[in-house]
Symmetry: D2
Subunit: 416 residues, 4 copies
């Protein structure tokens, strides 16, 4: 991949941005073999290393994500598990030793707290080997939790149809009665609740002609994670992890992209990780008939042992009562919101702006836990913020005086 | 406390089981002082060390939880933070060196997966110092994550009224339209969505006369966690942790109970932890005006450093599509359900019964994470099961043949 | 055990302080059974909770250590392994919730750096559950690494004789040519290099008459660790650990004592741990013929998972060049000395006295490593000091100004 | 650097293999800047990826180590600390994605247990990103602890002379009385106890003419670690670590080499790490007058947080009694030997050959501790072997039957 060339003029194989069983594999590997895949950042270079947030405001979300592959694994059959080891992950080259985090506009992408943060903003990160830092969010310097945000196998035609069908039903339910969608950020018809197939911006990889057209028309969008993996955005899928993916089509047709230099649980700003272009070294093996043998129809994984290790945390609690005081029933989404809002408020007391605090939670390896899920009516979620990422003490008895930690670019001309 | 005496005939101070500002403190401590509090198990001895699950089926939930205190902390004023260190936790005495886990009947208590596990069952655990094991769930032996399930300060009258009001609104919404309650296990009028105040079974501590009556009538039930802490059931509040509670009334009026020898994130079987009677050694300090200074109106905490440390996990993923295939919008509750169901199915392949597997997830220190919460429409939750608690290898390439691991008592005469 | 009664007037079984196969077992346990043993502190109460260091100066070292047991394990035979799990460890009772650390006089006990610290000093510690702190060494507060300093099985008569013989040879070599003993602190005839059997102060447990006399005459002193375990002073034998001891006599005859609330690797001040009276809960199992099967003739162990976990350290390096500049050949003892002296000097820059710094290294769970042992002529040892035990930042770019951290009692009338 | 070219025909700057203040810097960096240095393996390519151990037998030790630099840091003055962060470490290129471990011949290099393993042997490792494995030592597969074995600043002329002088005294002492050298492997005149300066094989970097000659004549050999760092072989100097080196000459003149893919504490086979050619990304900062301010005249460091994390170990104990039964006085070198020999014997019971077991201890991240150093006459050292590096269970109650794990090349024609 070449980060200086447009996504559709790459020197290697064409990236793809839809899930479909008919996207042609670009390479075949034997079980046990290792392979390096190179990945563009998830926006294909739409966001650059500068101090202007308007790129985030204007990002074209139909184009994303730019995925590499598919890889065909010899001998893989439907029903197997594809054991995939993440041997190494790093920046694509010196030109890509930066990362970005965006708060998306409520009118274009949104995010977990989009009603609290409606306007586009962005932060640029320096990637120095294992460490990350940002001129826009100062006084944090830490070893990030690098991982692919998006990784998975191809769906079967049958599974693809199931996805499209069930998501369409949700879209229709939303159209009919926007208020029926719990936790929708506005309760109105915008923003959408799911992304249906669209030919607009579709990249079918190496496919051409009729096949390309069908992929564009039917192919599942890459935003959500699904039974094959996909955009699961799990920070713990980091260096050294081994993932067992269900195989739904012969050859498995593995794809990957959306590399993150670090991320907190939830990826709460949506473009909440430190987004980067990178490479991944992979090893593939097969567990024959593994789906049935282990009763698995979702990916499972064994995390690596590379940390980063933190042993000191400040932990915030949230319960399922909305910011407006409405009592929800066991709503873990709301509980997590409340924990995040508590943490943001807390960090502002130490001198960060609210936008900086939001981005900190999106990028540092916070542990976001489903701590309690049975004590009616309150689900309890917690967010554990590692103290070691800050260059000063954030303990709740350590506050002296407010300090400034720089500032992040926020769009000067918001949408909407 | 005396585990052989009924809860209402305890030799020391009377336990209490409602949250109310007027419950009298039973002891006053100075900041910096340490104190030992003794706690009955949360059911006050209703469940004993035997092989009969009917005790779980028939448990009286109006009586619970049996709390110790309140403790008055000298100098604590509304707006302070009560810094509380968990110095030590252990079984009350040799008679209480056992614990229990229950799957509650769907007609009496229920649980996270009550539609999948409608009938009462129970497991008894041996508590051997730092280790736990069970004759009912064999071949696991591990160092548990001991903690109080329930810990907090007293609400102000104002806050108490806010709680009762918002929970009542939910109850009314449910009565009016049971199907409007997302994630309700039946979608019908039973089970309830919250527990309103009731004089039935109310224990007002040392209060008597009118005060006792008012406490029974108004006092908030102890089931959910709220802004003061309460029944948060956070496994990470373990040995050595320091918690900062908001203070809402002068003296703070700290209460504690519901000791767990171990628990997984979510406490998914409801009585999902290993429940025990125990003592807690505590130290209290004050951060004056801390709520305002740190922007805190929920508890926050710094976990201790006592582990137990596990470095190897098998992790299960779940997304917000229901078991029936309905696509939900960013529903972290459903995502966690799916991850739990995946893990249960997996463990049955290694020879555990479904009930055993459910209880394993409720009791071993699983990490339950809000891994992704922005990729519409699918929230992604993960459950990381520590491999070290099993006496055999549960890796997804290690399965040889099914083994039996004993059996747990399930009620022979279910309700409903 | 009763900490208020003299060691020889204990209400339970008599303690013993020599290793000998003929000391009678005081209790018999079945494999799989658990048992609680109570232990006096290693000096049998010679050092009390006060501010006077003369007790340390004058301690009678012939009396130590006061051990509990022996325990007979049914079915244990010579050649087996005695699998021993440390289920729980804690203070004996409220009266024993303090600990002490001593710098011994060079004329009475000495220590690793006795030539640098010739005079007696002591520090008293408060034991608050999992935490320790000291009025004599302020601004540290941490979760200690509790463990028995002394734990082991009885030697066979043959092994006992081998011990006495080889140690006697060293004593004679020292007598003949004091300078031939590398790393002897003075190079003179005092202090001794080993402690031969002596009837002076010998406690033969329950033995009486001729047996008692023989035990006193032949019994191995308890200072060093040997093939059976003994006074190994390994901090990692903490909560939850499982140790496999060689069995040399039928019944194994297990003994234990010298409880430490915490210790750093090396226990460098000799009485370097936080010494306490305590209980230990134990479980015994047998691995039949294990010595031969596993090729083991020393104890091996699997550490527990209770931490305490630290992830941030300042690490000091030492090489095998003496303080006087003499180049030694691969001398790991000297390398460790140099690392310790570097660390002490460093801590004084943060305001601790040299004696305080020495005691910090003896008591906090430092990791003392044999980092390099092949690069002639310099062995390299490192000492990793956990930053989390300090209540301020000890990083090498964090020093602001010297602070005082209190003071420790040093004898006002040294020996010698 | 070019691994296919001889060390003295490198396309970039010439490597150097002596420590001397007059070796010219090859590059100047500003504080805060990052830089990548490329390093040959320590033998400069003498050992290749094949199955022949004779390369190890015949290695020319006068040529080693091939170091990169020196780097001049602007503004560094004698007395400062050079704060050096290890941002990233990896293999030089695809051609260097292998590593080697050697047991050196007793007649050429030796090692910690050279009297037990007199003949040359070697193992080749595959480096797959974060993982290592070997066709010669099967059934282990683990995430290695990558680090530079050799890293340091240049000595002043005065310090250099001190080094040469003190090491020469040891050499003379050895010549006069070989038996006076404790822990010498033979007690005879061979092997040497230290390596004096020699012009034979000397590489003076970019220096030429008289300067080159003086460097060759006076320059300290690179085998031992010393006050400037050097060949400290500390496994914990891994990814993300920050080291504070004393600065002895203006500009600091930093050098680095001898990359290890992994190593255990002690690097006991001498060429005991997994040796590789690699790159290191570094950041330099200055702590002005830091040596005096912090009382430091040796390097200190703060380890990174990259693990690999292991939580399960089998630990072996050794005391200071030689294999022949001789009692030594507090000899930590002997204690570590005994622990290593115990571990080797143990691993052979699980099917490894003794040479394989020796190499396992040299390469996996064992924790080698100075556990007890005061209990006369026995020092106690421990070796903690992480269970997670093995693909089967090495617990002391898990042994079923002997298995073969392949074999390593041993020289067919030993020296001597």
């Amino acid at each position: 991949m070449d980060v200086d060339a447009p996504p559709d003029e790459q020197p290697g194989a064409n990236p793809f941005n839809r899930w479909h069983p008919d996207i042609e594999s670009v390479v075949t590997v034997e079980p046990g073999e290792t392979i390096r895949l190179e990945c563009l950042d998830w926006t294909g270079g739409q966001i650059q290393d500068n101090d202007n947030a308007n790129e985030v405001r204007d990002v074209d979300l139909n184009q994303v994500h730019y995925l590499s592959g598919p890889v065909e694994v010899s001998g893989a059959e439907s029903g197997d598990l594809l054991k995939t080891t993440l041997l190494d992950i790093g920046p694509l080259n010196e030109r890509s030793e930066f990362g970005f985090t965006g708060i998306f506009s409520q009118q274009n992408g949104g995010g977990f707290l989009t009603d609290h943060f409606p306007d586009a903003a962005k932060a640029i990160w320096d990637l120095d080997g294992t460490y990350v830092s940002s001129r826009h969010i100062q006084d944090i310097y830490y070893e990030g939790m690098i991982h692919p945000g998006l990784i998975g196998t191809a769906p079967s035609q049958e599974l693809l149809e199931e996805w499209n069908e069930r998501e369409q039903e949700l879209i229709e339910k939303h159209e009919e009665d926007p208020e029926s969608i719990q936790n929708h950020p506005t309760g109105e018809s915008e923003p959408p609740v799911a992304s249906p197939p669209t030919t607009d911006g579709a990249l079918p990889g190496e496919a051409t002609g009729d096949a390309a057209d069908r992929i564009a028309e039917e192919g599942a969008r890459t935003v959500p994670p699904r039974e094959h993996g996909g955009n699961c955005d799990i920070k713990d899928l980091s260096l050294g992890s081994t993932i067992y993916f269900p195989v739904f089509v012969d050859g498995a047709k593995f794809g990957i992209g959306d590399i993150h230099a670090s991320q907190g649980d939830g990826e709460i700003t949506f473009c909440g990780a430190i987004e980067m272009a990178g490479y991944v070294d992979l090893k593939f093996e097969l567990v024959k008939d593994g789906m049935n043998k282990y009763g698995i129809d979702h990916p499972i994984f064994e995390p690596g042992h590379r940390g980063p290790n933190f042993s000191d945390y400040v932990v915030f609690e949230g319960y399922s009562v909305t910011e407006e005081g409405e009592q929800r029933y066991m709503d873990a989404h709301v509980a997590y919101r409340r924990a995040a809002l508590e943490a943001i408020e807390y960090l502002t007391k130490f001198g960060y702006t609210r936008e900086q605090a939001y981005m900190i939670l999106g990028t540092v390896p916070i542990e976001g836990r489903q701590s309690g899920i049975v004590d009616i009516p309150n689900a309890c979620s917690t967010i554990a913020v590692p103290k070691g990422v800050f260059e000063f003490n954030i303990s709740p008895d350590a506050l002296d005086e407010h300090e400034s930690h720089g500032q992040i670019p926020i769009t000067d001309d918001p949408l909407g």
